[in-house]
């Protein structure tokens, strides 16, 4: 019994001593600086998987929620070099896809494997899922016939792999391309938005790409890393109206043999852009070809990036300013001799003739340069330029599109301003604007004198919430009374001259413009900028349409080429916008009253 106890004691002592040694060693490991360093290194290297996460780029919708820019699944195809058994089969199978040659693919697939720096090689990218389905079938068939690619003389796609990612997609192709801009998705590391909405709202759409740390130790995993997606945007653009306007514009440009054209449709009440069409346009799904379309510094969106002398449409601003300041009234008479000398220059009418006694209404209707130059002098240079500045001439409208340009307005006191400019500026010569600038300025007349900031963004969708954009007032350049008087004058003008801009059943206010294009600083060539600006229904304008046709060959006159295009668009627009004809509207008001 005693011997057994001794053996037990001995065993106990040995085991205790071993445990003690193990504990001591554990202490040693815990406290040894070398081991601590090793532990830290292991923690840093292997505890977390670092992932660079690029959130999905936000979508872009039209005002009714129709997708204009989204993302689609696409595949990158490459080879895991360690597993490739037959590069010949890979090259033969993939040749021709994305214009890849056998040789190129073969070179990639036959690279030697090196665990340090050569594990995976990309063959091609941006393949649609249909191609991947075919590749998958072929790979499976070869795998059955030649498992693991063991027989190197038999075909095998072993080592060939694919992974999906998103790419930008524009389901409407070139529709509203000038407004949308594009995202350079082919550059997967440095891709960004160019032009239009894609450029202006790039940061919002892109979200915040970030590095996420995913613990490899499952005990440390408490939740999924939250990376918010890019914000989606709802635009003010109406897809149907945009498509209709683009179609009409294209037809008109072809018919009158113009160099280009631009149409803007605004809601004057809130500055929303319902449509903005111009030429050329590009299929945004092939954005890399845009340089073929936009040659010789052609702007991507003429509506906001090309300045030009607007001509007689500008008279709307001059007359509104003069009436608002009390310099003239609607029935003020002017005896038009057909010639007006001012500031060392001579102003002539468009037809080089005098038109005798005219009211201001007549001056606008006949678009008399001489009369408007006189009106500007009656108003005075200080007042005239104050009003033009209030209308935003020479300033950015701050429309939310990338690439807005301006031409500074020369005012008295500037080194490049001469007295004759007061006269020429009054009828839109010697002053340059972009279509959006002039449309915005004139929209004040259609909105009781209140000029709204033109904008393309209607709402932002972020983190599952929709934030609607509040329209902003840019200024009130003229009184509501003046705006109403101008609208009435311009309605009468169109009716009296039986304008081609009229829309049956609707009262439309508008003004034509024909501006000669100076060549080497001289006017008098056949080249013109033909334009028309109109809004309606006159009693409560729901739309303003600005039409600009560049260098039409068929006829140089705005009244002949731009006014009919306005009418064509307005006729369809009243239907799209559910605007009742004047007669119906009056009956409805009478019934409700």
């Amino acid at each position: 019994m005693k011997a057994v106890f001794s053996r037990l004691t001995l065993t106990g002592l040995v085991l205790s001593a071993s445990s003690l040694l193990i504990i001591l060693q554990m202490f040693h490991i815990q406290n040894s600086s070398k081991h601590q360093e090793l532990s830290r290194w292991a923690d840093e290297e292997y505890s977390f998987a670092k992932e660079n996460y690029t959130p999905e780029r936000g979508n872009i919708y039209d005002r009714w929620g129709r997708l204009l820019a989204g993302n689609e699944d696409i595949y990158e195809v490459g080879v895991m070099l360690e597993y490739v058994t037959n590069p010949d089969t890979i090259a033969q199978t993939l040749q021709g896809i994305n214009n890849l040659s056998f040789q190129n693919i073969y070179e990639v697939a036959s690279k030697s494997f090196n665990p340090e720096d050569s594990v995976y090689a990309v063959i091609t990218d941006f393949l649609p899922s249909g191609v991947i389905d075919v590749l998958s079938d072929i790979k499976q068939t070869y795998e059955i016939e030649n498992p693991y690619g063991k027989n190197k003389n038999e075909p095998s796609l072993r080592g060939l792999i694919w992974s999906s990612h998103l790419k930008r997609s524009y389901p409407e192709n070139s529709l509203a391309s000038n407004v949308l801009g594009f995202y350079s998705y082919r550059d997967r590391k440095e891709g960004k938005g160019f032009y239009g909405v894609e450029e202006y709202y790039n940061d919002l759409l892109a979200g915040n790409p970030m590095d996420t740390f995913m613990p490899r130790n499952p005990y440390l995993l408490e939740g999924l890393p939250h990376v918010p997606a890019g914000a989606s945007l709802v635009l003010t653009i109406d897809r149907e109206i945009q498509a209709m306007v683009e179609k009409k514009l294209d037809e008109s440009i072809k018919e009158i043999e113009a160099e280009s054209g631009t149409v803007i449709i605004l809601d004057p009440h809130n500055g929303e852009v319902l449509a903005m069409a111009t030429q050329p346009r590009v299929n945004l799904n092939e954005y890399w070809k845009y340089e073929e379309q936009f040659k010789d510094k052609t702007p991507f969106n003429r509506a906001i990036s090309e300045t030009y002398e607007p001509g007689s449409v500008y008279k709307v601003l001059t007359m509104a300013a003069a009436i608002d300041a009390g310099a003239v009234k609607e029935d003020t008479e002017f005896n038009d001799p057909g010639r007006f000398e001012y500031g060392g220059g001579i102003i002539l009418n468009w037809d080089r003739r005098g038109h005798g006694r005219q009211t201001m209404q007549g001056c606008m209707q006949k678009s008399l340069n001489v009369c408007l130059a006189w009106v500007a002098t009656e108003l005075g240079k200080e007042k005239f330029y104050e009003y033009m500045s209030a209308f935003g001439i020479g300033q950015r409208t701050s429309i939310d599109l990338g690439g807005e340009k301006i031409w500074p307005l020369s005012v008295p006191g500037d080194s490049d301003w001469y007295p004759i400019q007061l006269a020429t500026n009054s009828f839109g010569q010697g002053v340059a604007v972009t279509p959006i600038q002039l449309a915005t300025a004139i929209s004040a007349i259609a909105n009781d004198g209140k000029m709204m900031k033109p904008h393309i963004l209607k709402a932002i969708i972020q983190d599952g919430k929709q934030y609607d954009i509040t329209p902003q007032v840019l200024g009130v350049p003229v009184q509501a009374k003046t705006a109403k008087t101008m609208t009435e004058m311009l309605v009468k003008s169109l009716v009296n001259e039986s304008s081609l801009a009229l829309v049956p059943g609707y009262s439309i206010a508008g003004k034509t413009g024909t501006a000669e294009i100076p060549v080497e600083g001289k006017y008098g060539t056949e080249l013109t900028n033909a334009s028309f600006v109109g809004w309606g229904p006159a009693q409560d304008p729901q739309f303003l349409i600005y039409v600009w046709l560049e260098k039409p060959k068929d006829s140089p006159w705005g009244s002949v080429v731009a006014a009919p295009l306005f009418s064509e668009i307005a006729k369809e627009l009243v239907v799209y916008l559910n605007i009742p004809p004047d007669e119906v509207q009056q009956n409805l008001i009478a019934k409700e009253g």
Binding site: R66, N71, L175, P215, K465, Y467, D468
Partner: protein
Amino acid sequence: MAKKSKQAYRQAPWRKQLQSAGISLMPVIALAVLMAIYLMVSAEAAAAGLEIMEMHYEEEEILRIIANQRTDFAWRTSFNEMQKRAEKAGFEPAPMEAIHYMKITGYLGQNTVSLALPPNDGNDLAPIVNEYYQQSLWEWFSSTFLTSTSSREMNQ
């Protein structure tokens, strides 16, 4: 006599040994039970962690599928596609003379688009984790027994 009775209640030596062995094994068994519970909880935590990891990748894939299907739908309903379908179905644009404006009582026109909830509507997405899994033992005890007792007293 007294000596005899003392002897009568004396336990057998094997019982004493068993008792002392049992007492000394008690902490070992308790420790083993604790370790088993710890192991079970750890295993479950590890399984949950792995599930989270899988869900992370699954979420990415689902988001890609949703984006892809949304875009695919947009391609199928794009302006040109819809126009082709309308033409194929025999529709043609109505000339302006054929269009008559009709006032339909109660019809207010197309509603403005709402693709997401408005801000501050009180429907914020909260973590979908049962509150039982977010409570400590004390919180559970307190809410189940103490709060219910006090609320019963209040009601009385």
